[in-house]
Amino acid sequence: MKNNKGYNLIILFCLCFLAVANVNAQSDWQAPAEENEKLSPFLFDDDMVLEGRVAYENSCTSCHGTPGQDDFTPMSPPPGDPGAEAFQAQSDGSIFYKIKMGRGTMPKFEDAFADDELWNIVAYIRSFNEDYKQELPNMEGVVIPEYAMRLSFDENVDKLVVKIFAEEVPQPEVSVSAYVMGTFGKHLLGKAQTNELGIAYVDVDPTLPGDEEGKINVMVKATKGFARAKLQQDLAMAKPTERHSAIEGRHIWSTDRMAPIWLKITFFVSVFGVWFALLFIVFGLRNIKKAREEA
């Protein structure tokens, strides 16, 4: 009996602890110190806010609601209103990190958004804070190279070849991420780093369907420090696929114009056949009238 009581106490204690932990989930979540201090290399301007808004509405509103409206979905732990004071008290780096990495029910957006797009969302969230002043990184003395990118496809090994130069000099150790542009989002092909020759290889699934010529719209981003570049182009690296209309051919479900021929013939032949006979009789009634005099 005594033993039992002890267990009960322990369970009660645990439950209380869990409850408290739950309530504080939001404030408990701390980004690593290094991430916490991270600053946006971009100036939060109207364009960024606008783009951030689109991304936010597509990906965040369903849980967090509209910032400042306190209409987030009741969940445990509560997702919180990004417009609220407690939320805004976090550093840019902290918000950036949490969106990127996720935790528990908060999805990880690392694969969905590139860094610059994540900063767009931060810019949008910050636009609800009148008192916010963007802290910008100290750039003095930093030389930022301008990258040029060249894309090609090596069909022998099914790899996307990314070459990165800055003023014709190959750039090593540049992080490259390659995406296929879908209708509603971009699909991560893979991430890689350039070698000493400034070349990075990204695996391409040969079964990926392209257009008739096997072309597909790819987007490659390259970053190293503050240097970044982006290139989007059509590349013949996918499986050539013929696209068919979903309504090709004649079916029972087609529109009347595309009805099966046999059905149309059957219908019209029988309807017109019967009505022809009926009209023959109706007009024949005149003959009855004519025949009133015995011949």
Binding site: A259, F267, V274, A277, G284, N287, I288, R292
Partner: protein
């Protein structure tokens, strides 16, 4: 069967007198028509309500979107099929006893077929867009076939009523001098100058024969296509390849019953006991036995086959019918409305005019509810559960406007039959005379 069964021998004058007697506008008729008209106006008020407020005034909802309007439509189409059986099939087999009742069967067919077309319009959410069916009609849809066939059937039935009636219209033109002017004029133009010449008879017989042949495929297809409204879907309970013949056999049962009732009514009210005899009732009763037997056979197939296999959805549907929610109605209709009457009319005393008429009334009512059983329960057993909707949507009960509009369709049928039976003789006079002469010679 091939003997004529009109009793006794009458002079031609007597026959004319007896059979033309009903062509008048008596007080009884006016009272009856007045009653029908007032009832119809009340019912039309409900239709006006439905036009104003939408189909929401009915008990229909997303899960039972076809209710008693469609059941009633199927019933009407079914009943109208009898015209084909009696006048065409039996007529062409030279079964001469049906000749005095053939016109009654044709009257029933025309009235029910005409009103069936109207019922479909009352079921439409947008009756104002009826013309779309003709502008944008899709040959793949059974509805387009149905409309084409119903219209054709109405026209053929009307012609089949009219053309063999030409000699009788001429008789009305010649003998009825005390009817209103417009009526005399109407007889004159409708009789097409009928003069009983041999050529006129020849032409009339030829056209009638063409119609009699034509009406068989059209009548079969009108009800087969109507059954396709259900059988062409993937719903368990409807998804059945025997629906066509099942419907056709059921149609003959309902039609026979309706004709027997009409025969009884005309016989008593128009004093036609000598022309529509007890023998006619006996034979119509035997015909009813035959068609009911076929129908019972189809019913057994329709339940036993899915019930035996009991695949998930069908088993649920059959179970609901036999033991569940719809079982009371099911057993009442199947036993009370079909099997018991069928057993009763096996006995000769039950085929006397009065008992047979009462049994026919029961059969006809059973036939109507049978159509409800075909249409409604299938929809109440969808493949996916009925959730997040008002509680009432798990069942179906027709509302007052819905019932009133359905009643209106019956009133219309009665009006059409009444008026036609007052304008023209209900028993073909010239055929009776011909028979009589044939017998006398």
């Amino acid at each position: 069967m091939n003997e004529t069964i009109t009793k006794g021998h009458f002079s031609e004058e007597q026959i004319d007198k007896d059979l033309l007697k009903n062509v008048n506008w008596g007080g009884k008729f006016k009272l009856w028509m007045g009653f029908l008209t007032v009832s119809l106006i009340i019912c039309l008020y409900y239709y006006y309500q439905q036009l104003q407020n939408g189909l929401g005034v009915t008990g229909l909802h997303d899960y039972v979107s076809w209710g008693i309007y469609i059941s009633n439509f199927v019933f009407f189409v079914a009943t109208s099929l009898i015209g084909m059986l009696v006048s065409s099939v039996l007529g062409m087999m030279k079964v001469s006893w049906v000749r005095p009742v053939a016109r009654i069967a044709e009257l029933v067919a025309v009235a029910f077929a005409m009103v069936a077309g109207l019922i479909i319009i009352t079921d439409m959410g947008r009756p104002d867009r009826l013309l779309n069916v003709f502008i944008h009609g899709r040959v793949q849809s059974p509805i387009v076939w149905d409309i084409a066939v119903v219209v054709t059937y109405v026209v053929i039935s009307a012609l089949l009523l009219y053309i063999p009636m030409l000699p009788d219209i001429a008789l009305c033109r010649d003998k009825l001098n005390n009817v209103p002017k417009w009526q005399q004029k109407m007889y004159k133009s409708l009789s097409l100058g009928w003069n009983s010449t041999a050529k006129q008879f020849r032409l009339m017989n030829r056209y009638t024969r063409i119609l009699l042949v034509l009406i068989i495929p059209i009548a079969l297809s009108i009800h087969t296509v109507t059954s396709w409204l259900f059988a062409m879907t993937l719903r368990s309970g409807w998804d059945s390849p025997i629906f066509g013949p099942y419907f056709v056999s059921g149609a003959f049962v309902a039609g026979c019953a309706a004709v027997i009732i009409a025969m009884f009514f005309f016989r008593n009210n128009y004093k036609l006991k000598e022309y529509i005899t007890a023998d006619h009732f006996d034979r119509m009763g035997k015909l009813l036995v035959l068609v009911a037997l076929v129908y019972v056979y189809f019913n057994i197939n329709e339940i036993i086959v899915p019930g035996y296999k009991a695949n998930t959805a069908d088993a649920k549907h059959v179970h609901e019918m036999l033991y569940g929610h719809d079982s009371v109605m099911f057993w009442l209709v199947q036993l009370g409305g079909l099997v018991v009457p069928f057993l009763l009319i096996l006995f000769k005393p039950m085929r006397k005019p009065l008992p047979l008429t009462i049994i026919s009334l029961v059969i006809l009512a059973g036939a109507w509810f049978k159509r409800v059983l075909i249409v409604v329960p299938t929809q109440l057993a969808p493949y996916y559960p009925i959730q997040n909707v008002p509680e009432g949507w798990t069942g179906y009960s027709p509302t007052t406007p819905e019932v009133a509009i359905t009643v209106a369709s019956f009133i219309l049928v009665l009006m059409i039959i009444t008026v036609l039976a007052k304008l023209f003789p209900v028993v073909p006079i010239w055929e009776v005379k011909e028979d009589m002469n044939h017998k006398n010679n």
